[in-house]
């Protein structure tokens, strides 16, 4: 029996925190969803800030598409019946490598402009992935789920997977925080000090591919972009410092995921409509961004008005 059955928005929170103190006896599906999505939000929040600062978000877009092909290839060549962590890691590595190498090949050897080569590579690889998946499984179901995500189908094994991925993300960013900071803001100084910006770009790309694979089942390849970019942009409006930026981005992501799951449960209990939780969370992320934007704009116009009166007094 799901303890969240027929509960409204606030009751969901109350029960969640009560059960958190007890350590989640017989974990319910809503709890799995909340935990998975929060871990996704933490990983993507950390990554997203650096991606936005480095102007690499379109690369994340292409990587999150090509992991589908990576998963299919790993599935075919390694012949794994159950997609365990090692297989998925190999898939992430393959897809990051193939995408980058192909894009570089098109830009440097064929001398195609960069945006066109990115656009061509990832859409073609994704198309190949979709065709392979459809032909192998003989249904178009997985292809559709790949872009939409299916939060309701999450299982406790997904929680383990995304848990490991989040740990890796947090570990890498705490270990190499200084290096990432340096390569993001002053790549010339980084090079002088012997820290290769290219190496850390590749590291970020592998992390993006891995995180996309973790988020793949929950939110799909497209909505993970909102997780990456949305919180980072919102946090960017509020602060200019890197550490608060990272914390804020993670916090906004977790907040949106919590509210999203609770809201979807609330709507199901009161109006008996089952909405897509992933869609709901993305809408919430956009709403948070919009509200923050309005807030900062009003604050900015307020300070402008303040300075205006001061000048008048002078």
């Amino acid at each position: 029996m799901n303890p969240y059955w027929d509960k409204n928005f606030f009751q969901v929170f109350m029960i969640f925190f009560q059960r958190m103190v007890q350590g989640f006896p017989n974990m319910a599906s809503d709890e799995v969803q909340i935990l998975v999505l929060s871990l996704v939000a933490v990983s993507t929040g950390l990554l997203g800030v650096f991606l936005v600062l480095k102007k690499m978000t379109m690369l994340a877009n292409s990587l999150s598409h090509t992991i589908l092909l990576g998963i299919v290839l790993a599935f075919v060549f390694l012949g794994a019946q159950v997609l365990n962590f090692e297989v998925l890691f190999v898939a992430a590595f393959i897809s990051a490598l193939v995408t980058t190498l192909l894009t570089q090949f098109l830009t440097h050897t064929i001398r195609l402009q960069e945006d066109a080569s990115i656009g061509l590579v990832f859409t073609s690889l994704f198309a190949l992935g979709v065709v392979c998946v459809t032909a192998l499984t003989r249904s178009s179901h997985i292809g559709i789920e790949a872009v939409m995500g299916n939060v309701d189908a999450l299982h406790i094994t997904d929680l383990k997977l995304i848990g490991i991925i989040a740990c890796i993300n947090i570990g890498v960013f705490t270990l190499f925080f200084k290096e990432f900071q340096l390569t993001t803001f002053d790549s010339v100084l980084a090079k002088v000090l012997g820290i290769s910006p290219t190496l850390f770009n590749y590291l970020i790309m592998i992390l993006v591919a891995m995180t996309s694979i973790g988020a793949f089942r929950a939110v799909g390849v497209l909505l993970v972009l909102a997780f990456l970019v949305g919180p980072a942009l919102t946090a960017r409006l509020l602060t200019n410092r890197l550490k608060p930026l990272l914390f804020l981005a993670c916090a906004i992501g977790i907040f949106s995921s919590l509210c999203g799951v609770a809201l979807s449960r609330h709507i199901l209990s009161t109006w008996h409509i089952s909405l897509s939780t992933a869609g709901l969370i993305v809408t919430l992320i956009a709403l948070v961004y919009g509200l923050t934007l309005v807030y900062t704009l009003r604050k900015r116009s307020g300070t402008h008005a303040g300075t205006g009166t001061k000048e008048e007094k002078v």
């Binding site: 656009g119 073609s124 032909a135 249904s139 178009s140 292809g143 909405l275 897509s276 956009a286």
Partner: protein
């Protein structure tokens, strides 16, 4: 049952999907050329995803008020998709200009948020109206199999509209795309044109998503243009070629999406259908790969040709100077076959003329380097070794005129006379 290619144009079931997807790809590949030239191919990605909520809202609203009327539903979907992509265009513009968000982040944010809203709205009807939900899903990867003649007519009219606009405004488009200042000076309203092209982009995307699908539309926009770009530098040829490639990939994508499931059909297992979009895009990408291979191949052939010519000319030059040479069998054969050497490997008159021209170019270039570029005498030989193979007859004439037809090179060696 097997189908020939012609059946796809005559068979009443296949006719509409075939012609429909070809028309859609034609429209998108024409607009795609402009997108590539503007270097905004990622904008296409954002706008195509942003059309998804429009599709969902249009389909739900029209199906609710006019149930079972396919023609009106099709137009409603088109209108909805067009509205939301325009809205996305507006939001991206505002984010980039007003709030100074970096272009890539703005595009990513808009595309995923619009798509997420689309999914949210679609999930509302998932359980209550399963039929509508199924129709909405078809727009993700495109499914041209359900197209009917009336749809083809609508899309055909819109395609003709786009092509007609291209014909009418071709000169202005050319001017705006390649020289903004010039077009301003001759009185073209540049801003108006830019906005019109973005609106056309949104329209082409809305036309295309029925057969290519929201997710892969951006790839289909640019793939034919990229393929055509390998063969030509002229805008007019580029447009025609790209449109042609679009037509072909539209046809074969549709063809393979019918044929492959038939071939892979196994007794006793349920049938499956391949979505059209990935097949169309894969075919276009395949054409791109071929064009890349041709481009690389011609570049490689030119390199090999040049190297061969250098070896040939060096051999002739050595013979002219009566130096001993080591020539490969093929080189010797070629020299003889061209009539530059005789049976005993002595230079024929033609060979002598050719060789003395090479020596002349070498020494002329040395004179030029020393007299005009102030190079040291002992350093000029290596550069002249390379230039002697490249200088054209016109350039030789100019050099002779400029240097006043010198007799001696910087190393005090005689320069052979100009021979005709």
């Amino acid at each position: 049952m097997t189908y020939s290619i012609f059946d796809f144009f005559t068979d009443p079931v296949f006719r509409a999907p075939t012609v429909g997807s070809m028309l859609m790809c034609l429209a998108s590949s024409l607009i795609g050329v402009l997108v590539i030239i503007r270097k905004r191919s990622l904008l296409g990605e954002a706008l195509s995803h942003a059309s998804y909520p429009g599709v969902v809202i249009g389909l739900i609203l029209i199906s609710f008020y006019f149930p079972m009327q396919e023609e009106i539903i099709g137009i409603g979907i088109l209108a909805g998709a067009f509205c939301t992509s325009l809205l996305a265009l507006f939001v991206i513009h505002k984010m980039e200009r007003k709030f100074r968000v970096k272009s890539d982040a703005a595009l990513c944010f808009v595309l995923s948020v619009f798509f997420g809203v689309g999914i949210l709205i679609a999930s509302r009807v998932q359980t209550t109206h399963a039929m509508w939900y199924k129709q909405i899903q078809l727009f993700l990867y495109g499914q041209s199999a359900t197209l009917m003649d009336i749809h083809v007519l609508t899309y055909g009219i819109l395609c003709c509209l786009i092509i007609a606009l291209f014909f009418l405004l071709y000169r202005s488009i050319e001017a705006v795309h390649f020289d903004v200042d010039f077009s301003k000076s001759i009185g073209i309203r540049v801003n108006f044109f830019e906005n019109m092209i973005y609106c056309l982009l949104a329209l082409a995307i809305c036309i295309g998503i029925r057969s290519v699908g929201v997710v892969l539309m951006s790839g289909m926009l640019i793939a034919p243009g990229i393929c055509a770009r390998q063969f030509t530098h002229r805008l007019s040829v580029l447009l025609v070629l790209s449109g042609f490639i679009g037509l072909i990939s539209g046809f074969f994508g549709n063809y393979f999406s019918v044929i492959i499931p038939e071939m892979m059909q196994v007794e006793g297992q349920k049938n499956f259908s391949l979505p059209t979009g990935p097949m169309i895009l894969l075919f276009a990408a395949f054409l791109c790969a071929i064009s890349f291979a041709i481009g690389l191949g011609t570049r490689y052939v030119r390199i090999v040709e040049h190297k061969w010519q250098c070896r040939l000319e060096n051999a002739l030059k050595s013979m002219w100077k009566n130096e001993s040479i080591e020539a490969s069998c093929a080189l010797r054969f070629w020299l003889k076959w061209q009539g530059w050497v005789d049976e005993k490997y002595h230079l024929t008159p033609e060979g002598f003329i050719y060789a003395s021209r090479i020596v002349r170019l070498h020494r002329l270039w040395e004179v030029y380097l020393v007299d005009y570029l102030g190079q040291k005498v002992e350093k000029v030989h290596r550069n002249a070794e390379e230039m002697e193979h490249i200088i054209t007859p016109e350039l030789e004439k100019e050099l002779t005129l400029l240097l006043n037809n010198p007799r001696l090179d910087p190393h005090k060696q005689p320069i052979p006379e100009e021979t005709l």
